[in-house]
Amino acid sequence: MAFKLNWISASFDKDKPDEVIDVDNLRMEPAIDEVQRMNYSCTKEKIMTKDWLKEYAPKIPSELVLQKPKLDQLNAWLQIATKRVGMAPILLITGPPGVGKSTALKVLAAVQHIQLTEWETPVDIDNAELAGSGHLIQSQASRFEAFLLNSGRYVSLLDNGKGMKKLILVKEFPNVFTLHPTQLFDILRRYHVMGRVPIVFSLQEQTEGSRGIFPKQFLEELNIQQISFNKVPNKSIMKALKRICTLNKTFSAPSADILEKIVECVHGDIRNAVLQLSYELVQDKHGTIKQHNSHSVRHASHKQKSKIIKPSTVGRQNSVKMSKKQSSGNKSSKEFEAGGKDRQLPIFQRVGRLLYPKKSQDVAFLTHNPEEIVDQTLAHPGRLLHMVLENYLKVFRDMNDSCRAIHYASDADTMMSEFRERELTLPMALSTLARGFMTCKSTASRKWTPLTNQEYFTVRQRTRAVREQIISTNPKYVLMPRDATMDILPIIYGGLSSRLDSHPCEDELCDTSDDEADMVLLAEGSKNLQHCLSTVIDAASGIQVAPKEVVTAEKSDADNIKGEECMTGTPYEIQESESDDESKISEELPKAWLDNDIEFINNVHHF
């Protein structure tokens, strides 16, 4: 430790605080370093400052920035959970990083006199070291389980909170559980029966494309309640920052401009906002001269994109735009140059922006840059295409508009399928898509329609199911699926829907009685032909079914065995998880959309 301190002081002795600060380097350093650095410089100036995050952390519930209803929910859970006897209740808190999930829990627990015990994943000790000592080698999973059981049982000697209620907080898992979640589930099931102390899992929000560690069935099975926090609204962040400024006696309060810029740049991350603020203030104190190096200009131009450009006349648009860009770029770089987070939009909000494009007063410009919307995508770009396609018809009112729009989608798909020049065509395709859809809509009707998730993947799943059924009818059909589905199966089974019993055919749409008669006739015929079906299968059984033969690229036996093992397990699992994901999203959807919309409006106010 001492060595480390030396190292830090040595490196910072070189550059005197009054000298120009290399912003590039600062940007690269993680937040923790920033804090350390600040500590250092502050001690040197004999100013008493500690970690701002700790110092200005909220102490009472009213200081928390989270939404009131969610806090009430959390509070209610805490009250019930700590009183309850019997099965140990479990809570799952999700939310993006830096919204104050843990802080909220700590504050509320402190109010109710609950003692928090936090799980820390131990660092593995080297095997060589262990060999000498008489330690038991324990797997991380069993350590985790032991922790859960023991923390409720024993009271620490150092704590004086006797008779306090307890709560276990888990913010991270041992890595084993990400690979084998079932192990975790087993431990929790056991704990649910045996344990007494409530557990709270505080996890990051499940990002697009990846699933959370807990599947829905499991949450239901153990009666786990879930509270998910949203991003902190900008107003609340502003309030919190102002509170810190008033509490802070050492530094003079920054201008409202700077605060606003900080708020704008952190995108609902309160922790980051506090760090930025401290950074800004320390810089002010030192009176550093900020230089416009290449980095700050780049940063400025990035920020500038989100600004609304309103050129006064169309004729001068280019020059005006350029000059505006220059001036505003310079301005922002003068005032603010700390690094911000990349903005991430949830997919529904992005689709909303594409389908309900906002035009600035001058019709020639769109409020949101199409490329930027696309850039903010986290999921596979194809997903955006599907989402837009799934929903555009509900929004568009005019046939010509939708015709033009889908034409652009067709262009985009063609470009996206070009694999060889992918780096080049993919952005072009997405840009075509975004611009196409944003410009095609002529009638501006903003009626609230819920966006739905993509149908495409359920369609694919059902296609697979139908195919499997075809093969189960007669394994020979695998060689000629086209002929089988088009000629033979319609004869054997009558009616498109009866081929797959699970979904109804939209027969009410066909209104011509003639055809219905046909269908009935066909159905009768098919009924009579059912006996042929059995004989078809008989004929198929003439083909001997050989035991599964494994052909792998590698010829070793071990690989073959491995291959067979994988074969039995994997494909179904993947399918299940996919469907799981989809269903979850579609459930969450209307609420998510609503929340996003509100937040979106908030943001607009702030701009």
Partner: protein, 355 residues
């Protein structure tokens, strides 16, 4: 008893009912003892597979009739396991690589390699090569086709490849030049009628000529379909009536209804319904090009000459797009949308002319 289609399938080249000179040529080709790679193409229901099977029987004797079903497990370079089902005898192997989507290249390479690396064990087997029949060769990806080209050259000593395709326009020229192309055209109406009559004779039924003609008309040159229709008719009603109804396939009816809906109303809401119906068709395994063709045939019936050219042009454009792109539904929808837009304009213009 099995379906008539399978029951009355000819099993030797001499017993084929039509394209007899071609059959004779194939017989001579095989009698020579060796033959080049073949590319058999033609519309569905024309008898491509039947001819291949006859050829194999001519080549190896009745041993090829003892088929067995095998599930192969192949590992891709990216360590993904893929399953593929093959039908094989001691002498040949049938496989449909396009079944596994874009992994078909691996199937081609690994499967043919395993087949080709093993020589015929049976010393009494007349031939020293095995035959691999690749079904739906026109559905293979370009990658797989290029892989096939190399494989064809490398293992020519131990293995012959017979490709089956509906159209050769989607088979790359490199493969077309390496194979002997055999075109199996659809049978004519008279040929179909005579085949239907002969089946009825063997079954001991009497088939009125009018009905046979109608079945032949409805089947549209697809012999398999014609025989299936005949059997359906028999199950529905026997003795046959000359004016008996020949039921069309359910998906064709469904497609026709969809076309009617398009003509009835042109609005984005309707388009949404149409899209769901198109999805329904695709789920049931109807290839997108058939959906396209069926839709177009129905839609142009409602157009005048000027509109027809527009619609067909659009159709050609988007049909091409289906092959370029990866998601057929988008292009189908785009076609329907553009038809709706131009039809609506056309209708509005005619209504305006009336007043």
């Amino acid at each position: 008893m099995s379906l008539w289609v399978d029951k009355y399938r000819p099993n030797s080249l001499t017993k084929l009912d039509y394209h007899k000179t071609q059959a004779l040529h194939l017989k001579h080709l095989v009698q020579q003892g060796d033959f080049p790679h073949l590319l058999v193409y033609g519309p569905s229901g024309a008898g491509k597979k039947t001819r291949i099977f006859c050829l194999l029987r001519e080549l190896y004797g009745p041993g090829v009739e003892r088929l067995r079903l095998e599930h192969m497990n192949i590992q891709t370079p990216s360590n993904k396991k893929i399953d593929i089902t093959t039908v094989s005898s001691n002498y040949h192997l049938e496989v449909n690589p396009s079944d596994v989507g874009f992994h078909d290249r691996v199937v081609i390479q690994e499967l043919i390699k395993t087949v080709a690396q093993t020589h015929q064990l049976d010393p009494s087997g007349q031939r020293e090569f095995k035959v691999v029949v690749i079904c739906e060769a026109d559905c293979l990806t370009k990658d797989a086709q290029h892989a096939l080209r190399r494989t064809m050259e490398k293992y020519v000593a131990t293995c012959r490849i017979i490709l089956v395709a509906h159209t050769i326009s989607r088979v790359i020229p490199a493969i077309r030049s390496r194979c002997l192309g055999v075109r199996v055209g659809a049978p004519t109406k008279d040929e179909i009628i005579s085949i239907l009559q002969s089946i009825c004779r063997k079954e001991g039924l009497s088939l009125p000529n009018e009905l046979a003609e109608r079945i032949a008309m409805q089947s549209n040159g697809n012999l398999r379909r014609a025989v299936l229709f005949l059997e359906t008719c028999k199950v529905q009603q026997y003795p046959f009536q000359p004016d008996q109804k020949v039921a069309a396939h359910d998906w064709e009816i469904f497609l026709k209804d969809t076309a009617k809906m398009i003509v009835q109303e042109q609005s984005p809401q309707k388009l949404l319904q149409i899209r769901n119906r198109l999805y329904e068709l695709m789920i049931h395994g109807i290839p997108s090009e058939f959906i396209f063709k069926g839709l177009l045939q129905e839609l142009v019936k409602n157009c005048d000459m000027q509109l027809k050219t527009q619609v067909v042009e659009k159709a050609a454009f988007f049909e091409h797009r289906i092959h370029l792109g990866s998601k057929p539904i988008i292009h189908l929808e785009a076609f329907v949308a553009s038809f709706m837009a131009s039809y609506k304009k056309f209708m509005e213009a005619t209504v305006a002319d009336l007043f």
